[in-house]
Symmetry: C2
């Protein structure tokens, strides 16, 4: 499929397009969440990076030594259409597949738990300059029934849901959530 | 009302009781959440403290300068009985009342938003060595209909739900959530 902007780019490198080039996946999602909050459509936040604080200068109220902790949950959670929503954003730096090593063992355990409790949970994966919603159930299914260490690009094209970039919100992932989880409601 | 442990304590200061003395409210709740997770009863985590990172030593992978950011949401969230749950824990250092200055304006806005979207949301307040669940709706009601800058202790005694300390979980707040939000289910 050819996208008009992609085509235009080939003709004239100086033409400004409205895609959010240069914004990484996290910025795109944060910006979408701000928009959803503003529109009162959902209340979803990125969790702060977990750190272990080793030293605080109490006079300045500044952290002077700390380390990054491993994440045991997903990055984003909140409420949408009355449901608990909990997801992770991942960028694949390989064009042909998404390495499963990107997801910690603890995060897979977390995913199993929250799905059991009724959460809406998924990954948003950026691969090959495209964005896909990968359902948590499908991810577990893939992991449990494959010995592969990565998910091929073709799996995203065939079994996941593509999220288009827009102006506002930059990455309208909730419209895809509507289609996938709330169809017919 | 007299509690057996409190009474015992008066008789013999050396008797070991099973209350979790010395544990602050945050530790009590974290410990309860670990227990709930283990029992597969709920998946609730404390959000990491939000910080702004100013300098990272990439060789050591250590944060060498950072500041504490203001919180715009509540500290704890997750899923319980299929519902989005989101709450804050607060210790009152005054015995006669709970100063409302303890809660940021942004947090009140957050509370209004999530309640509108169908969240189960409340405060757990430690006051006078007792623990109370204060419903989010009641808190907003109090704020919107009072010019008072604090909630008197009597309000907790008369209008909130007392949470007892136990051995495991240390603070069984979900049993109170059951009573308050899921009665008859």
């Amino acid at each position: 499929m050819n996208y008009p902007f992609a085509k235009k780019e080939n003709y004239n490198k100086n033409v400004v397009d409205y895609r959010n080039r240069g914004m990484d996946l996290e910025s795109l999602i944060n910006s979408a969440n701000e928009y959803y909050l503003e529109m009162d459509r959902a209340v979803i936040y990125k969790k702060p990076t977990p750190i272990g604080i080793l030293h605080v200068d109490y006079k300045l109220n500044r952290i002077k030594d700390a380390y990054f902790k491993d994440k045991s949950t997903f990055d984003y959670n909140g409420i949408y259409r009355g449901k608990y929503i909990d997801f992770e954003a991942k960028e694949s730096h390989v064009k042909t597949s998404f390495p499963l090593g990107n997801i910690h063992e603890h995060q897979i355990m977390h995913l199993r738990r929250i799905l059991k409790h009724g959460a809406v949970s998924f990954l948003i994966v950026s691969i090959n300059s495209e964005y896909y919603l990968l359902k948590g159930e499908d991810l577990l299914n893939f992991i449990d029934n494959n010995s592969r260490k990565s998910i091929p690009y073709s799996y995203f094209k065939n079994c996941c849901y593509r999220i288009e970039e827009k102006l506002r919100p930059t990455l309208d992932y909730l419209s895809i959530v509507d289609e996938v989880y709330f169809k017919g409601e």
